[in-house]
Symmetry: C2
Subunit: 123 residues, 2 copies
């Protein structure tokens, strides 16, 4: 892959185990000649109090990336194997491969995002 | 790396060749037991018309990720080896390893972000 490539056909909505509806992916493993990770998620200011998935497991590890215009502008709970972790933006959380997990948006100012970076080509 | 790990010591400001000031990194190659990529960047609504770096090259390829609350809410120009590419959010652009590049924010509604994902452990 030695040339510039632009993709505007994003997000791509793909099924993920446990998710209520297909999840929006911005990077998939087949893009740009092949990637060792995938990136899903997006804006969360409309998701306060609404889980997007049941507790579920992936074959691969996942890194949650929470960001907002102002520090503390977004807060989520990530429950991993029954243990709840409260995140305040900006923050990252690493979910080990195979661990049951779920996230819930608690607060989100406009312009808040939560991305899930899957460390492999599987979900 | 089999346990949950949370990082709130982000962004980390690190020097990058060509950049005017240390760049904010959210993921570095040494996090979470080692990663094959790094993620830098952040909010761009305060960067309209202000380049953050001179044209520069990395040893590794880079994917620019442009996102905003509303489609088209952010527009950047990415110049790669002298050729200008106009991106409108949401969009991804792949810069080959070694190619000279620079990005400039043209428009950015509040909550617009541009991330650079470096495909390797070097900048």
């Amino acid at each position: 892959m030695q040339t510039v490539e632009v993709r505007t056909d994003i997000p791509q909505f793909l099924p993920v185990a446990g998710h209520h509806v297909p999840a929006p992916f911005y990077l998939t493993a087949d893009m740009f000649g092949g990637l060792p990770f995938q990136l899903a998620g997006g804006s969360i200011d409309h998701l306060v109090g609404k889980p997007v998935a049941d507790p579920h497991r992936h074959e691969v590890a996942e890194i949650y990336f929470l960001v907002s215009p102002n520090p503390g502008g977004a807060k989520i709970d990530v429950t991993v194997e029954g243990e709840r972790h409260e995140l305040s933006s900006p923050a990252m959380l690493h979910v080990p491969a195979g661990a049951e997990h779920q996230f819930l948006t608690k607060e989100a100012e406009p312009g808040s995002y939560c991305f899930g970076i899957l460390l492999g080509d599987k979900a």
